[in-house]
């Protein structure tokens, strides 16, 4: 599905990520965990094409995408729910969703996908004519996820979906993540909250100061002494 090999990324002169190799398998929920500032968002952005890659290989659905511009990677089946939602605050909920179906392959079927999304998120249907900027944090997260789904991705990135949400709402979001996965969408979930992430994912990678230090099944990672001590405070 997604294969990243020996990726090196610089921010200006400073190297931000070293020798990153990860693999996301079809239909799974994979997670990338690590502390704030470890480089998780940078890695996602690099795979999306928003951050330049100095060296290494990124292949998406069997295609080498290093030379493909970011906007064209969406047509290949990649969609991202960015950190901080980044919904269009000056557009209505429905316009936000429609713009999610911008790419050619889905634009003509946007009404159909809009309906599907409203079934999944009835709350958004109630608020369809409201401006994005008037939504609550949780509703914005819903909108960001629904918008990312409009392009009918094969691979969905979620960057810190739990950030700023109440624990109860985080559970709700994770249920949604699971149900999206059940419909056949492969998911790469980035989280600071390791407990939540490993609770929903099958496999996980641990990123520390710009390097992948560990990867294993979710259960094994939860039981790992280093993880327990460094991230779970046990």
């Amino acid at each position: 599905m997604l294969e990243v090999k020996d990726l090196q990324i610089y921010y200006g002169d400073a190297q931000a990520l070293w020798d990153i190799s990860i693999r996301v398998r079809p239909k799974e929920i994979c997670t990338l965990v690590g502390a704030n500032g470890a480089g998780k968002t940078t890695l996602l952005k690099a795979i999306c094409g928003l951050v330049p890659v100095a060296a290494g290989k990124i292949s998406l659905l069997g295609k080498d995408v290093k030379a493909v511009p970011a906007n064209e990677r969406v047509s290949l089946g990649l969609s991202m729910v960015p950190e901080g939602r980044k919904i269009f605050t000056g557009m209505t909920v429905e316009e936000n969703l429609k713009i999610g179906a911008y790419v050619n392959k889905v634009w003509n079927r946007k009404e159909e996908f809009l309906g599907k999304n409203y079934d999944l998120f009835p709350r958004l249907k109630e608020r369809r004519n409201q401006l994005g900027g008037t939504l609550s944090g949780g509703e914005r997260q819903m909108l960001a996820i629904a918008r990312a789904l409009m392009s009918q991705p094969d691979l969905l990135f979620l960057d810190e979906p739990s950030l700023g949400l109440s624990p109860k709402f985080v559970d709700h979001v994770m249920e949604i993540v699971r149900s999206i996965n059940d419909q056949g969408v492969t998911i790469l979930l980035v989280e600071q909250n390791i407990n939540i992430a490993l609770g929903v994912a099958q496999r996980g990678y641990v990123l520390e100061s710009g390097r992948i230090v560990m990867h294993d099944d979710a259960g094994a990672l939860l039981a790992n002494p280093h993880i327990k001590e460094a991230y779970l405070g046990m």
Partner: protein, 292 residues
């Protein structure tokens, strides 16, 4: 002197002037909102609109209904090529916010001198596209002025519909609001920039074409509209469409009514005073910078 008919005539004149300001300022706003840059060659597209109209009507002898759309379309193409060749390579590079200012200033100087070389420095007159005068209740309105008003209204409404309702409009607004998020939606923002630049130039060209019979045509005719449009854009609130349109009409009306009290040489004093007053009492402009 201040009879109702004179006031109404003066109001129409102000609205005509205001249409020019509104069209030119809307183009500036479009570029500022989307590309976050100022285009100092904007007045030259206005000038090219004037010259294109002169060339088509006077030299080629074509009818107005053919000349105006062709001139506007050609200027769209010129702006399109200009954006691709000199703006696009700078975008996103370090210092692009300054380098694009220099590049557009340079393009403006080039276009002025191109026009000077090609058409000379004379003030050229273009006849009214619609002859005659509408007489009503003792007032007289030149049909051409009414044409300018109608054209402006149609263009602004059409433009608004494009921004609000079409796929391109959605992509344009998304790019303006959050460029990175727009890219994540698969929007080719570079292409959006190029088309936006072309559309913006077309609006200026249309204003230049419509006003060519009222002001004469010369290579430097773009300077005043550019400066006035900058006033309008600041007056209305940088980045606000409503502000650009209403601000344009407000400035046009103020200037036109000031002629009733002062000689027309004081017109610029009025507009700059208005600008200073607005900046003092409401620095964000009349309508703030609302997202569109």
């Amino acid at each position: 002197m201040f009879t109702l008919p004179i006031m109404i005539e003066q109001a129409v004149n102000g609205l005509v002037l205001g249409s020019m300001y509104a069209l030119v300022a809307t183009g500036l706003t479009l570029i500022w909102g989307t590309m976050k840059m100022l285009n100092f060659a904007h007045g030259e597209f206005y000038m090219l609109g004037g010259f294109g109209t002169y060339f088509g009507l006077m030299i080629l002898g074509l009818p107005p209904w053919l000349v105006v759309p062709i001139a506007v379309f050609l200027i769209f193409i010129i702006a399109f090529i200009l954006e691709k060749s000199i703006i696009s390579p700078l975008m996103g590079k370090p210092g692009w916010d300054i380098s694009t200012v220099v590049a557009t200033l340079g393009a403006g100087i080039f276009l002025q001198n191109f026009a000077f070389k090609f058409w000379g420095g004379d003030f050229l007159n273009v006849p009214y596209m619609f002859d005659g005068v509408l007489r009503i209740w003792g007032m007289a309105f030149a049909w051409h002025r009414l044409y300018i008003l109608a054209l402006t209204l149609v263009v602004i409404i059409t433009f608004w519909q494009i921004v609000k309702r079409t796929r391109f409009g959605l992509a344009l607004r998304a790019t303006a609001q959050d460029n990175e998020a727009a890219i994540l939606m698969g929007i080719p923002f570079r292409r959006i920039y190029t088309i936006t630049f072309g559309l913006s130039a077309s609006l200026a060209a249309l204003a230049g074409s419509a006003l060519a019979p009222i002001f004469s045509v010369n290579p430097w005719m773009g300077m005043v509209p550019l400066i006035k449009a900058l006033i309008v854009v600041i007056l209305g609130g940088l980045g606000s469409f409503t502000g650009a349109i209403l601000g344009g009409f407000i400035l046009g009306l103020c200037e036109s009514f000031s002629v009733l009290f002062l000689s027309s040489g004081w017109k610029d004093l009025i507009s700059f005073s208005l600008l200073i007053i607005i900046l003092v009492i409401k620095p964000s402009g009349l309508f703030g910078a609302k997202e569109w």
